[in-house]
């Protein structure tokens, strides 16, 4: 659990983060979203004390984050930045081993951990261990960056626009991979982005910031349904709201009884994808199959349209 309490950061006259308080639940993904200059990155960097707050306090699992020297604190918190920040003069394996090395793990343990992480991130250790970052594709570099941040098994992972440098197709894949890994490891993730789509897709909770202030901190569906201010509404994008709402739900939750014609859709696909498929193929309903490939019913245009309406 991360408790942020009345945190403020001023640089001279300008207030970058203004009296922000929030509680981040353990094992969840919290996305801080805002335009540039909203203070979201500064807020993130105050959690691992890359930036020292002017006032206020941050507690990690109850302990004030100032009870340790900054560098020791940072070794216990994962950190991923835009453009990955890999060390160009170190191999993939050496990059991933950075924090374990700083913590003084023995060679055998480091080697085993590096191999474990590389496999987790679908990088064949035999092939990639000895490569240098410039020899990797953008997606591979991003995965190494996340693997490096997770090397010492931190409870908390801070990510500053981690997918910013990726092209859209690789970005989607990277987001899915991160969701799967988070589910598996149960890491608490705080992710900063300017992309509301990413926020809705990734976040268990979304914190919207503007001008250093926390405007709204809530679950994605509530942010979509009840934006706290016109700014949040604009950020969400009025014309996008129904589709974003649908993208939160799985097809499995919208299944109706009865048969339907044509190619079935997977129950764990998003309702938005199902609606897109319905509209594109001009069919009134799609059969739905579950993970075992068994047909469990259908989704209909009408049913999805009802779900896309603003919840009361």
């Amino acid at each position: 659990m991360i408790e942020i309490e009345g945190i403020t950061k001023r640089y001279g006259e300008s207030t970058v983060v203004d009296d922000v308080s929030m509680v981040i639940e353990p094992r969840s993904i919290t996305v801080i979203v805002g335009t540039s200059g909203s203070g979201k990155t500064t807020l993130l960097r105050m959690i691992n004390r890359l930036v020292e707050p002017t006032s206020g306090a941050i507690r990690l699992d109850g302990a004030d984050n100032r009870s340790l020297p900054g560098y020791e604190l940072r070794r216990s918190i994962g950190y991923v930045i835009q453009g990955h920040g890999l060390f160009p003069h170190r191999t993939v394996a050496e990059n991933i081993a950075t924090v374990p090395l700083l913590l003084g793990w023995d060679d055998e343990r480091i080697r085993a951990r590096v191999e474990e992480l590389m496999s987790l991130f679908q990088l064949d250790p035999g092939e990639f261990s000895g490569r240098y970052p410039h020899e990797l594709s953008g997606g591979q570099q991003q995965r190494v960056g996340v693997a490096r941040a997770l090397a010492a098994g931190p409870n908390v992972l801070l990510m500053d626009e981690p997918f910013g440098a990726l092209d859209p197709i690789i970005r989607n894949k990277a987001q899915e991979d991160l969701l799967a890994i988070q589910k598996r490891l149960g890491t608490t993730i705080v992710l900063v982005t300017h992309d509301m789509e990413e926020a809705v897709h990734m976040g268990d909770r979304i914190a919207v910031m503007d001008g250093g202030r926390l405007l709204q901190y809530d679950t994605p569906d509530r942010i979509l349904a009840h934006p706290a201010s016109t700014f949040v509404d604009t950020l969400v994008g009025a014309s996008e709201k129904p589709f974003r709402l649908l993208s939160l739900g799985r097809v499995g939750d919208a299944v109706e009884e009865g048969p339907a014609e044509g190619e079935p859709i997977a129950a764990d696909a998003s309702q938005r994808d199902a609606l897109a498929e319905l509209l594109w193929s001009g069919r009134p309903a799609l059969p739905v199959r579950n993970a075992n490939g068994r047909l469990i019913g259908k989704v209909t245009v009408d049913g999805l349209v009802r779900r896309a309406a603003c919840p009361a």
């Binding site: 691992n48 890359l50 560098y71 020791e72 604190l73 940072r74 070794r75 216990s76 950190y79 930045i81 835009q82 453009g83 990955h84 920040g85 890999l86 060390f87 160009p88 003069h89 950075t98 924090v99 700083l102 240098y132 410039h134 020899e135 960056g145 490096r148 941040a149 801070l158």
Partner: protein, 387 residues
């Protein structure tokens, strides 16, 4: 359609043709200060050797002129250079009358032009071969070994430069040692002072402009003027600071030379350290901090390794510059190869000037090749093309 001629080869062949047919190969002088008499290639050598050299040079020039395979060009340039190197020694003994220790035979401009032409060919071939750093250093070592072998064999002993050397072998070694001590010592001192200063300048913005400007101004002072400027303060220190004189600090001699070279060396070292550190990717630096490296760990594990190629480029500039500049130290009694240069100028004996100048040039050349290779080795990971 392209011609069958090589552009650079045409220049090389033209130089070689002129040097063979119209320029003197060697100069004969009755003693070391009278004007010399020019001797052509065929006059300088026994007939068989003369014609053989003519044939080798002609063949090599033809290989250069036409578009030929790289390996053939390499062989031709090496054959021509080795033949020239060996036969200039033969010319020396051939032209010198028996038991005459006053006569001087030295290579004339025809010889130097031929050496230049085929060195150009060799350099062109080596560039086109794109040798690895290690191969370049190995080539240098091979060339040095050949040179050493020729010198040790005594085949050049009858040449004027080695005649000058023969009478000064001891002082040549001593001055050579001083030269290296001056050049390398001042470099070491500049690195010891300049690196931390560069790091400080990188970290403290306020300091950077000031320090670099001061060093820039020092760099613009002509070397002789700087030697002169240092005489007064160092003389004062020697006279007034107890123990300073015992340490060898004096207004003239090694101390001001060392200090001047040190001051000249600071700018390249400091400036390149600053530039190298500024070139470290911001993201890498941020990540290093975000993962919990202390300031020191960040400097040693991320910043300095990434800045190393640029810093070494600064060291390379300093080393080559200092090897050359150390020659002038002789003017104020600092010793070094410059001693022979200035003695030679004083006595109008060009051979003696060359005795000082040639080793200086060779040293600077070798230092440049070695450090270029080292710079490439340290930066290879980032410049490599992804496979």
């Amino acid at each position: 359609m392209g011609t069958r001629f090589d552009k650079l080869g045409a220049v090389i062949a033209a130089i070689a043709a002129y040097a063979c047919l119209f320029a003197p190969f060697a100069t004969f002088r009755a003693n070391r200060i009278v004007p010399g008499e020019a001797r052509s290639m065929l006059e300088s050598l026994p007939p068989a050797a003369g014609w053989a050299l003519m044939a080798i040079v002609t063949a090599a020039a033809l290989v250069a002129l036409l578009r030929t395979p790289l390996m053939l060009r390499l062989g031709a340039s090496l054959a021509a250079l080795v033949a020239l190197a060996v036969l200039i020694g033969v010319a020396g003994s051939f032209l010198t009358p028996q038991d005459n220790t006053y006569a001087r035979v030295s290579p004339a401009h025809g010889f130097w032009l031929l050496v230049f032409a085929f060195t150009l060919l060799l350099a062109d071939v080596l560039t086109r071969l794109a040798l690895s750093p290690w191969a370049r250093m190995l080539t240098l070592a091979g060339a040095a070994a050949c040179l050493g072998l020729l010198l040790a064999s005594g085949s050049w002993d009858s040449l004027s430069i080695l005649r000058e050397y023969a009478g000064r072998a001891d002082s040549f070694r001593a001055e050579g040692g001083k030269h290296l001590t001056l050049a390398l010592g001042s470099l070491a001192a500049a690195a010891i002072v300049g690196l931390p200063l560069g790091i400080l300048c990188h970290r403290v913005d306020a300091l950077r402009a000031g320090v670099l400007n001061v060093l820039n101004v020092i760099q613009t002072i002509p070397s002789i003027a700087l030697f002169g400027l240092l005489i007064a303060p160092l003389g004062w220190i020697a006279a007034h600071v107890p123990g300073a004189a015992a340490l060898g600090i004096r207004g003239i001699g090694t101390a001001p030379a060392f200090l001047a070279l040190f001051l000249y060396s600071l700018l390249p070292v400091v400036a390149n350290t600053v530039v190298g550190l500024a070139g470290v990717p911001r993201a890498a630096n941020d990540a290093a901090r975000g993962m919990g490296m202390t300031g020191r760990q960040r400097l040693l594990r991320v910043e300095l390794p990434l800045a190393l190629p640029v810093i070494l480029t600064g060291i390379r500039i300093v080393l080559v510059q200092n090897i050359g500049l150390a020659t002038i130290a002789a003017l104020i009694g600092g010793g070094g190869f410059g001693v022979f240069v200035f003695q030679g100028i004083g006595q109008m004996a060009m051979d003696l000037v060359l005795l000082g100048a040639l080793p200086t040039v060779a040293l600077a050349f070798a230092a440049a090749i070695v450090l270029d290779a080292v710079v490439e080795l340290t930066s290879i990971r980032k410049s490599e093309v992804p496979s």
